[in-house]
Symmetry: C2
């Protein structure tokens, strides 16, 4: 059996779910509160982080290790595509969204609207939300620029870069903070991603206590 311990509030968990769905793997999900992990989970991943991938008694932890392991082991539907140089481009952009976008956008916006509100029980700080939305503009411009040139972020083919980007964006879009009207190419790209069967489950997720933005599940928005 394949089990993924995850939280739907974390983009890195959404990323692995979409990756596994793209590879047509069968798996069971176990939802954890990322800010209050159970002792069992801390024992199997001392980093105290999600996602954790469990199969046949083996435990793999962390988004980077799981991604590359799945790519090496489940060779159907490769997501790190192309020759070595093209693969480096896929990984450059994957890293961009997993880390740079996460740090500059997700940590600010979701940090305030979800973590601050539901975990710390404090009112969100609008100054920090605004900083995140400001940073978001730079990232949206970059996505728009890339998708004006190609069908997908790393080139003509759908890849891990698209999954990583969409995993981050889906949460910000749930919260209603993406100014889609200013980014036509990015919007078209995201509507293609949303139409993929692998993305369906993500769109069905609901964050307790927060309604999704009106267009969140619309494939044509």
């Amino acid at each position: 059996m394949v089990l993924l311990v995850h939280s739907n509030l974390l983009p890195q968990c959404r990323k692995i779910r979409v990756l596994m769905a793209e590879k047509k793997m069968l798996f069971v999900l176990k939802e954890e509160n990322p800010w209050a992990l159970s002792k069992d989970i801390l024992k199997i991943n001392p980093a105290g982080e999600l996602p954790i991938f469990i199969f046949d008694g083996n435990i793999l932890a962390g988004n980077y290790a799981i991604t590359e392991f799945l790519e090496e082991t489940y060779s159907q539907n490769k997501l790190i595509v192309g020759n070595n140089k093209e693969r480096a481009e896929v990984r450059r952009l994957t890293d961009w969204f997993d880390n740079k976008f996460n740090r500059e956008v997700y940590q600010y916006i979701a940090g305030e609207k979800i973590y601050k509100r539901f975990v710390l029980k404090l009112p969100p700080e609008s100054r920090r939300i605004k900083a995140g939305i400001n940073n978001l503009r730079f990232h949206m411009e970059y996505i728009d620029w890339l998708t004006e040139r190609s069908n997908y972020l790393a080139g003509a083919e759908f890849s891990m870069a698209d999954i990583s980007a969409a995993a981050q964006i889906s949460i910000i879009d749930y919260l209603g903070d993406i100014p889609w009207e200013d980014y036509k190419n990015a919007k078209l790209w995201y509507s293609k991603i949303k139409s993929r069967p692998s993305f369906k489950e993500i769109l069905n997720d609901r964050i307790k206590g927060v309604y999704p933005s009106k267009h969140y599940t619309d494939l044509d928005f």
Copy 2:
């Protein structure tokens, strides 16, 4: 020609230098100020981050993309070693040091002692340095625990995990903040890493305006 645009203040650049030296690659280094990148550099890497790897007119940016590219392309002296599961363990630990250690230790300690002091020209905040040193204890205990069980972090063989960890630690050690006497196994492990020819150049680096700790270059400390 192979060129690496780097800064010796950034652990992710030290990591790639050691990786290239382990692979016995010949390369030229170009030092950049990571907090005031030149326009040319921003043009070739819109993320505005180092390191950048340039060869035959090709440009690869970012630590993750460069690491995997070098591992795929320069196949002598593999650093992501073993079968798929062992490789996942190497990558889990690589990720741990590249990201978790960096966020919880480097950003606090080097952030205050180097960035705050030399870039912002402000006095370092001792509260933040203390937080970093507190976090460092947890990481040192983990390294000590791992190296009590095996020769190297991810098992019997030297790997990318050791390079990533040593790249982070070398800067904190330069600043004199590692309490080695409390971590005998970790100390023995780090003295093995320091003895490797690939690490020699790192130990010769000097940070302008900051003297290294007394034992910084000692192989037996």
